[in-house]
């Protein structure tokens, strides 16, 4: 199944880069039942990483406690205008996605 792109915005101010990411993902917990009473199978992001050029700046293990379409923001030292920020996730169905943005 095709995945939807993430929205990424990165800004650098006084040597600190702030990255904001809006991930598009269902994040089903596996606890919910549909109208016919059958359990909606769990489907959630398990790993999320963010890289500045090729340097790993954030790695996280996500679970079912995270909401649908998660939003996250983080800061790291360094980075310059035009540098590449790439964010990738993997989910429990084995799907993955990577999106990129330039620091503004």
């Amino acid at each position: 199944m095709a995945t939807n792109p993430m929205k990424i915005r990165a800004t650098n101010k006084d040597g600190v880069t702030e990255v904001k990411v809006l991930v598009s993902h269902e994040m089903e917990t596996g606890q919910r039942k549909d109208a016919s009473g059958a359990i909606v199978p769990a489907w959630f992001i398990t790993e999320l990483t963010a890289k500045h050029n090729d340097r790993l700046v954030l790695a996280g293990e996500l679970g079912t406690a995270v909401s649908k379409n998660p939003y996250l923001a983080f800061r790291f030292k360094g980075g310059a205008k035009g540098d590449k920020i790439s964010v990738s996730w993997k989910d429990n169905k084995g799907e993955s996605r990577t999106d990129e943005a330039a620091i503004a």
Binding site: K7, R9, T11, K20, L22, K68, N69, Y71
Partner: protein
């Protein structure tokens, strides 16, 4: 005829005379508004785009403006649920095709957003132009309003990232609005004849059917459940803990001591007037928290710090976040330094 009834007749005549004055456009009072004055007030943008100012804006420019003026409350992607309900989200590609937001009826939406509800793009344009940003309404130029709207449309995946929205193509975008067929006027709230007869209402027919009970009716209304007395004060006065805008209100619990605090400051006094004029009172109360802290809380925190006035003045000017929770205070660069210093001194002296 008795004298009594004659005096009533006289009173009735007097009433008719004064009513005659009233219909005479209050002769001697005021004057007609000039065309320029009417034009300044007449800023509404209608669904048929009557009143839409000329201009255009790109998604990229919109992102800059949004980040500067809107993101502190609405979130960078319009996703924030912190201060207001989200602007963006809950709409699908399919909705854009059908013009009905499926999530509204299927119950899949965790929460409604602006773009799941609004049927006409003119309404969003009008609202931004009229009321945004909260601290400085009517301050945005038409081009910036177009740009912000283009950015929001891009976030909602209605238009591509290289889109330029203008008065020329806004009608095309209207045809892509996810909930464009979601509005009904088939109820008694709208005036005029039914849509079939060329009006916009349904001829005034109510859409509720309240049938009067004619037999075996209940004689007494009894409230089935309520907050038990022993629990009323368990968490303080619930009324004070709810935000003061929006549909949700807490019940007033506790006795007289817990009654909501009323601002005691004199309404005509200078600093309070200034605070009201500058938009501070939308978020801060004198004696109570609204979105931001009450002035009494600010005073209590900073009263023993000698450099507080200078630091607070800087915060008012540049905005801040984190000291009182995650809801940010927007920057107030348009205020005069002297006004900011007056306000800070007023707040630190107890806001009286």
């Amino acid at each position: 005829m008795s004298r009594f009834s004659r005096s009533i007749l006289v009173l009735a005549l007097a009433g008719a005379t004064s009513a005659g004055f009233a219909f005479d456009h209050y002769k001697g009072i005021g004057r007609q508004a000039t065309p320029a004055e009417v034009k300044a007030w007449d800023i509404d943008v209608r669904p048929d785009f009557k009143g839409l100012p000329k201009g255009s804006g790109t998604v990229d420019r919109g992102q800059e403006v949004f980040e500067e003026k809107c993101a502190s409350c609405h979130g960078t992607f319009g996703e924030s649920n912190e201060v207001f309900t989200p602007l963006i989200g809950g709409t699908t590609k399919d909705d854009i095709k059908t013009g009905h937001v499926k999530g509204l009826s299927s119950g899949d939406l965790p929460q409604r957003t602006t773009f799941t509800k609004v049927a006409t793009i003119s309404t969003i344009f009008d609202y931004i132009q009229r009321a945004m940003p909260w601290t400085a309404p009517k301050s945005m130029k038409p081009d910036d309003t177009y740009a912000v709207l283009a950015y929001m449309l891009n976030l909602a995946e209605i238009v591509p990232a290289d889109f330029t929205l203008s008065d020329k193509n806004i009608a095309e975008v209207q045809k892509l609005m996810p909930n464009r067929h979601g509005m009904t006027t088939d109820h008694g709230m709208w005036p005029g004849a039914s849509a079939a007869k060329g009006g916009i209402g349904n001829g005034g027919k109510p859409d509720v059917k309240n049938t009067a009970c004619m037999k075996n009716c209940k004689t007494e209304v009894r409230i089935g459940s309520g907050l038990p007395d022993y629990a009323r004060d368990a968490h303080g006065n619930l009324f004070d803990q709810n935000r003061s805008f929006g549909p949700v209100r807490g019940i007033k619990t506790g006795g007289a001591a817990a009654a909501p605090v009323v601002a005691t400051a004199n309404a005509g006094s200078g600093p309070l007037d200034l605070a009201t004029r500058s938009g501070c009172m939308a978020c801060h109360g004198v004696n109570n928290k609204i979105v931001g802290p009450g002035y009494n809380e600010v005073q209590a925190r900073y009263k023993d710090q000698p450099d507080a006035a200078a630091r607070l003045a800087l915060k008012v000017k540049n905005g801040g976040q984190g000291v009182w929770g995650s809801v940010p205070m927007p920057p107030n660069g348009e205020m005069k330094d002297a006004d900011i210093n007056t306000l800070v001194a007023w707040i630190l002296s107890g806001a009286r």
